[in-house]
Symmetry: C2
Subunit: 406 residues, 2 copies
């Protein structure tokens, strides 16, 4: 069982694959819901399981600040902390340090910053990011990178990329030397079983490690993207992310940068585009050969009353439309959010009720809206996985690839 | 099948009974979670079903203001509006008019008040409260009563009680003349099925009506309580509530008022104490012969991080303790909230995680805390029901009476 097993590749470059991680096998292309503070906002873990969210993301920066990575290490890692026994990925904290934290001071060594929560002073280096991510113990962790501001000049982007490469090298070194320190590789006999009443056993994770992905930078410059991809591939990571996109640039530029970067990444390793995007974007990128994506959009939009539906509910390939549930026109609308959606929210609740919950500031509104949007994203990816098998160029077994159960 | 079927009565006066309502049979004594705005705050309906919450309460005042009773009537009643197919009860709006609304002007006719939401002017009379409650269509509705301020003199309490009795008579008259107007008694063919894909049929509700309960007032005066009970019993309601308690008086007084009022209420009709209380209180009152209770405490306390547990988790009869989840001592506590509780939260999550959610202001915290507290209340009532059968004085079948499934 290889780490990344490409089953089919379509003419467009999209791949139907399986990613085998310590906590389970992920069917790709996959969308990963974001659980910033070890919780996908307003959505209970059993609902994520019901949605068949095969892998979720947690944010290193947030968990480092609160409750602290040493606390989570002592509690057995973030899986046990949040009672999530399926695969997880952590980012490096880099993006948040550069977008949320205050008074950053960057050197070759790392970044000094102040917490956005209480102003306390902290220092992140590649080694420290790895240490934190090993303590958290997600299945996939990310190298610590500098995220350049946007727009940035070619020179500024090249220099930042150089720093990112040096940090990637140092991240990789630390990971190789310390990967046995992940909490679940060495559970103590005193560990209390949280999951399913059965203790995590040493046997289950024997010989298994966290994977570390490199991050291609290079801003909006084709030559730098190429150089960054090649440089990282030389370092030989288990997988590669394309970072620094969806930061305000036009969508054509995002697509162009993804397309040209993919050309320089190995076909037998997973490719991850960080922080995208709208449902039609994730579909488009998956068909181009991106295997993993994450975004706060489904949950954040849900909390703001924005719901994704298909223009023609019966045609799941029709255009994506955003429905603003607070509009008066829904006050007596007895239809579900999306008449073609079979999620638990659309099976049970009406637009009229969801509008009422939102208008009344009721917390259940945020939960139900988020669940529908996540279901919409996961349904979209399930359909794409099926399509990629149907259109494969290297022989298809007829396996639909649809792991999403609704 | 009678409306209220007392199966067993214990020496202490506690009764194990069944209350047959249009939307189902309720095992009593029962605790009713409060769903103010047609949602038990932060708890999805399917979770309430999993908890076996056999009957929930909704607030007439809130639903009248938002989304409006006419909207809910057109949508088929509050059951269909919120997708809840089990029994429900609505209060009369009286308590909220007297506690939440602004600039009240009370006359024999009714109460003029301003909405706490937008300052708009409204008028509630007994007839209007009935009209609103019939539009909402809960299984049980309550007469419109005046809630006297506390403390109040004997004279003031007597006068208020007189008004309440006149309003009870008018409420009853309106209910008798208009009870066929409840939305579920006449579903149209165009009605879209919301519940389980099956349309509510006329047959299901044929010959069934909402029940109307009278409310005994009389403040903290034994003679007035007696007079109020007798006066209401003369009017002959399907059930009787004891109102105006748990409004700041010492707990001994609450108990005394309940005890003496119960003496004057018929044994073959349900008795409901409104707005109580702590878990040990609801247990105590149930053993005294109270059949129904409701309180916002489990959900409100949950949202504030206060969790109910047993002092000795193995002994479910031991004292009730409140655990404040935000305390630092729980930061690395891997135990569930209550080691003897089998609710879905205690089976899955640790105190450490729940503390983290609360400290981080994560919405999932409110949901999980509320679910545990509701489970604790419902478990308590399930145990009391079992005890009442065990200690019955009129012959027991050995039926445990435990409808709570966890």
């Amino acid at each position: 069982m290889s780490f990344f097993d490409v089953k089919h590749t379509s003419e467009g470059g999209g791949r139907r694959a399986e990613l085998t991680l310590p906590h389970g096998v992920v069917q790709t292309p996959v969308f990963m819901p974001v659980g910033t503070a070890a919780t996908v906002k307003a959505v209970p873990q059993n609902v994520l399981e019901d949605l068949n969210a095969e892998i979720i993301l947690a944010n290193t920066y947030h968990l480092y600040l609160r409750p602290g990575h040493e606390v989570i290490r002592r509690l057995g890692g973030v899986h046990r902390f949040m009672s999530w026994d399926w695969p997880m990925l952590t980012d490096s904290g880099g993006f948040q340090v550069f977008s949320l934290a205050k008074l950053r001071k960057i050197s070759q060594e790392g970044v000094e910053f102040r917490s956005h929560l209480d102003g306390s002073k902290h220092f992140f280096s590649p080694e420290h990011s790895m240490e934190v991510q090993i303590a958290l113990g997600a299945d996939v962790m990310m190298v610590f990178d500098e995220c350049v501001e946007t727009p940035a000049s070619w020179e500024r982007t090249r220099d930042s990329m150089g720093l990112t490469h040096a940090w990637a090298e140092r991240s990789r070194k630390y990971w190789v030397e310390h990967r046995d320190e992940v909490p679940w590789s060495r559970p103590t006999h005193e560990d209390r079983a949280v999951m399913d009443g059965a203790p995590d056993s040493v046997a289950r994770f024997e010989g298994k490690h966290q994977a570390l992905f490199g991050i291609v930078q290079g801003g909006m410059y084709a030559d730098l993207r190429k150089e960054s991809a090649e440089r990282l591939v030389e370092m030989d990571f288990p997988g590669y992310a394309i970072g620094g996109l969806a930061v305000g640039e036009p969508r054509e530029v995002t697509r162009e940068m993804i397309a040209l970067t993919l050309e320089h990444l190995p076909k037998d390793k997973p490719r991850y585009v960080m922080g995208v995007g709208y449902p039609d974007e994730i579909e488009e990128y998956a068909r181009m050969g991106v295997d993993m994506m994450d975004c706060v959009l489904p949950t954040r939009a849900g909390r703001h009353g924005l719901l994704f539906i298909r223009e023609d509910p019966k045609d799941r390939r029709s255009a994506v439309v955003r429905l603003n549930i607070k509009k008066a026109e829904f006050a007596e609308d007895q239809r579900p959010i999306d008449e073609g959606c079979r999620c638990m929210v659309c099976r049970r609740y009406t637009r009229a009720y969801l509008r009422h919950l939102f208008s009344s500031g009721e917390p259940l509104g945020a939960t139900l809206n988020s669940v529908h949007n996540l279901a919409f994203y996961l349904e979209t990816m399930g359909r794409v996985r099926g399509d990629l098998v149907g259109s494969c160029v290297d022989g298809g077994s007829g396996d639909s690839g649809l792991a999403v159960s609704f």
